[in-house]
Assembly symmetry: C2
Homo-oligomer: 709 residues x 2
């Protein structure tokens, strides 16, 4: 059906630009809505504060001299930041003009674009180019595409107010050579099914619509050869899974969404008959929703893969996504909750609708769900699993990563888990080793330690076999397979995710079950985590739990190394870990309690085999101090056949620093034991506040793996 749809779409193209009169502006703000937006700014607080911020920035731009420097610096450098600032100023002045009608904003956009037009053609490829495809304004072409996506919108907003000769000058000496550069020099990227490609074709397509150049629109939608083998529609087919999940993970999905959405909105304005928002069973709506579902309740994206950890749904891409999803796709009142927490709307038709309905009290709390978000264009490449429990104000959340590799930004962390609670990270993911835009730290790009540490398996909360990383840390092998989703349940008493990974290590089959199980005596559901490895040969297994907070109790004496610290290993990330303590347990069971954000997290473990615990801290073999501080406890065994790691994490108690009271500092669970029927069927028994409980685990019972008995 999708193929057919695409074909129909093709038919339209010859008609488009004769049948539809051009009007300006016609992207986020459409001409017919300008007056309503002006009135809305008076009436709706969110629209007003958002506009005031824009106009303040626009005025600041007007107050400074126009500065179009010769491109020179890499990411974060002076010319880099100036050109970023310029496109923002062009965009902001466009909005300020539409709302205020004040020509001074038009003059600014005119002057700066004429300045660019007088220089652009002289600029060669950027001198700070690296491995990536270079731009001419920026060190990578990606930034040039982004520049154009914003600039063409600013241009569209002042178009009607510009003199014809100025438009000609700008189009001829700036936009035309830019389009030439994007569609010819950067053709490979335009045709690349990848987020860099999306930015390229959004820039090309939007410019095509605004300048009334159907040629560019066709290239954007159907690829440089206009044959439909690449381009936007193929990207919509291939870059998202049927659940709207983007293979690189939430951080990159956030970034990738913007060109998808804004081009869709542009298409919808110029060619509403294409019903682009309905395409592929509303894939764009699903993608926006999945972007939101892959945040924790504090708004931060699950930082799997090469993620910068301080990115939240407040980022402009998601503000735009929410506004368009609400206004153009489906006016779900839960989206208004997100918009309220973003504290911002776009000054646009969508922003008007959102701020109006918020002012009218229509918002409802956003509904976070427990689900597998399947990966892969066909949904068969595993997925990202999420369990949630509790109100948005204080929610437990588990993430199980059992997806595809996620291309070059992927980490070697199959079956990795993240645990959140109480609005903070409990078992975090390190994210990327990068100080984005900080030039003094590796030019603001990915640091060497991103490969030697952040991508390595031991940097994650998942099993390391024989101290090697999954797929030996090689992208090629990793890209050929994905983990498999093997179970899911979502009831008030029991929720779980179950997944398998058979290729990360040759000859070792891995599986992980994570669940949230309600035990009446406990403050919050118990995090059940069962990790199995199966192999004919004997292996060394390490299971790290990177934790936030401070260890305050343990069932065994910890004797941290006092006189010297040494790295835990020599490679695969182990070289970056200081071995702060090592304990060979006398009993193969025990617990560790961590205090984090005024709450306690006690992880109980039990094993068949002699169990060793290492406490670990990042920082070894890091001469440039590129690593941030992280702490872990690592469980290790040596085993053959089926090896099972059982970890139950109890979330308990409260420290109130204001009243200086502590409740339930001691964990409730005792006497954890395991009774095996077989390797895949066993009972976990324990006392909670002295009361006996039993969990019956049957790993082969797809819909009923965890039973409370």
């Amino acid at each position: 059906m999708e193929k057919k749809y695409l074909y129909t779409l093709g038919l339209f193209f010859c008609l488009v630009f004769s049948a539809h009169a051009q009007q300006h502006p016609n992207i986020l703000i459409t001409k017919g809505k300008v007056e309503a937006i002006r009135q809305g700014i008076e009436q709706y607080p969110l629209l007003k504060t958002s506009y005031l911020e824009i106009v303040q920035q626009a005025d600041a731009a007007l107050a400074a001299p126009i500065n179009v420097p010769v491109p020179k610096d890499g990411g974060g450098g002076v010319t880099h930041e100036q050109h970023k600032k310029n496109y923002t100023s062009i965009y902001n002045c466009g909005i300020a003009y539409q709302v205020s009608g004040d020509k001074k904003y038009v003059n600014y956009v005119r002057d700066i674009l004429l300045d660019y037009a007088s220089k652009y053609e002289k600029w060669p490829l950027h001198p700070a180019k690296k491995d990536q495809e270079p731009g001419r304004i920026f060190w990578q072409s990606l930034n040039d595409f982004v520049w154009q996506v914003y600039t063409i919108q600013g241009y569209d907003m002042v178009y009607d107010a510009l003199a014809v000769k100025d438009r000609q000058q700008i189009e001829k000496h700036l936009f035309k050579p830019i389009m030439q550069f994007f569609t010819v020099d950067c053709k490979k990227t335009l045709d690349w099914i990848h987020n860099h490609g999306t930015w390229c074709l959004a820039a090309v397509g939007m410019t095509g619509y605004v300048l009334n150049q159907p040629e560019y629109v066709q290239m954007a939608l159907k690829g440089s050869k206009k044959d439909g083998k690449t381009g936007y529609m193929v990207q919509l087919d291939e870059l998202f899974s049927p659940d709207g999940y983007y293979a690189e993970g939430p951080y990159y999905q956030r970034y990738a969404m913007l060109p998808f959405i804004i081009l869709a909105k542009t298409i919808n304005n110029y060619q509403p008959e294409l019903k682009i928002f309905d395409y592929r069973d509303k894939i764009l709506s699903k993608a926006i929703n999945t972007t939101l579902q892959t945040t924790y309740t504090n708004g931060f994206f699950f930082p799997v893969n090469d993620a910068i950890k301080d990115k939240s749904f407040e980022s402009p891409e998601i503000v735009l996504g929410v506004n368009i999803a609400y206004a153009d796709i489906a006016a779900e009142p839960e989206l208004l909750d997100v918009a309220q927490r973003q504290k911002k709307v776009t000054i646009s038709d969508g922003g008007l609708a959102v701020s109006k309905d918020i002012a009218e009290g229509k918002a409802k709390p956003f509904k976070y769900i427990s689900a597998w978000f399947r990966d892969g264009a066909k949904g068969d490449q595993g997925g990202l699993g999420v369990l949630r429990y509790g109100a948005n104000e204080d929610q437990q959340c588990i993430v199980l990563k059992a997806a595809s590799q996620g291309m070059g930004h992927g980490h070697f962390d199959r079956l990795n888990i993240l645990y959140y609670d109480n609005n903070t990270e409990i078992f975090p993911d390190y994210g990327a080793a990068r100080f984005i835009n900080i030039e003094s730290k590796g030019g603001g790009g990915y640091l060497k330690e991103n490969n030697t540490w952040a991508k390595q398996t031991v940097a994650h909360n998942t099993l390391v076999v024989d101290r090697a990383s999954h797929f030996n840390g090689k992208l090629k092998g990793a890209e050929q397979t994905a983990s498999q989703i093997a179970g899911f349940k979502n009831t008030p008493e029991v929720q779980y995710l179950y997944a398998k990974e058979n290729k990360a290590y040759e000859g070792v089959a891995l599986s992980r079950l994570v669940g949230l199980v309600t035990i009446p005596e406990l403050d919050k559901p118990l995090l059940v985590d069962i990790f199995q490895a199966q192999s004919d040969k004997e292996h060394h297994y390490d299971l790290p739990f990177w934790y936030k907070g401070h260890i305050v109790a343990s069932s065994f004496p910890i004797k941290a190394n006092t006189a010297e610290l040494r790295p835990l290993g020599t490679d695969n990330g182990y070289q970056h870990i200081w071995n702060t303590a090592e304990v060979q347990l006398k009993e193969n069971a025990g617990f560790i309690s961590v205090l984090n954000n005024y709450r306690f997290y006690t992880t109980y473990f039990i094993h068949d085999l002699p169990l060793k615990i290492n406490l670990a801290r990042t920082g070894a073999n890091d001469p440039n101090m590129n690593l941030t501080q992280a702490n872990a406890f690592i469980q290790s065994v040596q085993g053959k056949g089926v090896t099972t790691f059982i970890n139950l994490t109890e979330t308990h108690g409260k420290v109130d620093p204001v009243s200086e009271t502590v409740t339930s500092a001691k964990p409730s669970i005792t006497d954890l034991a395991i009774q095996k029927d077989s390797d895949t069927k066993f009972r976990l028994t324990f006392l909670a506040e002295g009361k006996q409980h039993q969990l019956y685990i049957d790993l082969n019972a797809n819909d009923n793996i965890i039973k409370i008995q």
Copy 2:
């Protein structure tokens, strides 16, 4: 004059209890205001939410069975927390009864107090007693005093509704033996000029008033012998400096304030003619104000000495202090700002006044000031200096500790500085090594590392001579002297604090000048820090800067230790520091840039002598992992005569994670140089954004030490 006042006070005592009829309640809520408080709860949002919280807790208490366990556990343990909970419940139910008139709350207070009355006399000294004077309900008598301060208020609030026989039972078998215990067994504490003493006499005095027992009131005000040589009035004379500063420091001042204030309020209600709030030139008002002035704008107290770092002015002591200061001393609208940020008022006459005036829009921003807060009863024991610059929303703040030792909770950190900016710590103080109320961490008390680390000089941002702590870490020597205030200025362009310390090390005179100097090219005033040591003999000097954040740039290559970490020393705190890097500088000048909370802090330094930089991290010789993570750069030289450390810290730039932009990541200052006229007169020259600046320093020019030229 104070002596005379005290004498006059003595005369009143014989008259008091015949002339003044008893009424109940008559402490925070007075009988005549009950109806107004009831109405206020309907009208004023802050009073309403505060009351709803109280009544919710009262209802929770009613819903649970009464539990008066035999005292057994230490701080944070089960019986400890239960008895704390009980006095809170008694207090809350008293309030709930006064507001609602519902007898169920009276019945709860009656039943629990009768329960205590049936048991208390059988309880011996607490079994978990340690070094401190033991209580009978708690492991230390201090907690027993606190218990009584709250309980007597709850009793006062239900007094009129209790049957006479119940009152007799409670007074005879609970309060009378408690008073016996406090005034006889704990007599030493009652007469101790110390915050434990304050709690004791507040409990005794308030109980005396409520039970109409002038005997106890006299003991509270004039000491156990009623001779005026100890007791409350002497405490008011001696525990606060003329500026209202309390020698143990802000964290303990907060704690000590509550009994001072609540006893004063009780005295004022029963004996308004004593004008207690006017005593010693309004010393209580000054003390409350100084408590607020020794917080940063985020509300957290400057954590000098044995401070728990998560204490802010939201703590109940300060809520009460602000309410009483506003209602009973002076209705300053700036106090309403604090009350708003506390998000809470006491359900009381004072809370009514505060919430009413907030509702009427009378609040004004709290005025933080730059000042020396003198220490010592006579104000001659040095002081705590504070410099502030900028709006409350984004304020730079420097603290210079040049006070007395602050008794047993004092740290050996003469001339220590703390730097705050952007609502966070930049150069922090470690505070205490303690997990308060976490029983698994040393019973919730001070950890061994509080002595071996937190109190040691090297744990602070001040000069360490020959790797020994001030006064060799001995309290006795330290208590005999204080630092000296030696200069102060507060103009918009130049602010500074100057102080001297001549006794911390034998034969070495120390002085430190810290200032904030406005340089037009810089984003924010420059932190100027000049530390001098003078000695006839050669010494090794270490000047640590404990910093928050991550080092992102430096003028010299840092090669962190990659293969092993070793402690920096063997004692005086050095044994707890991992030496992460060591660099002998080629030039005796340079800079280090730290990124912290999305802003940059670049510290430039210059020296006459060969300069070594160590990078350091806590954690060595810490087998129980009692230390939290902290990082420092330490400047070291070997010198004789006058040795001068010059450090200029520039606060610059911004990282915006939402828009992914970075501004002014590179510092503005270059070419720092020094030209000496003499050891005490010299010029610092530097370029800021290429423009030449000169600071002329004359350390002997008291009112004009820093001149911008």
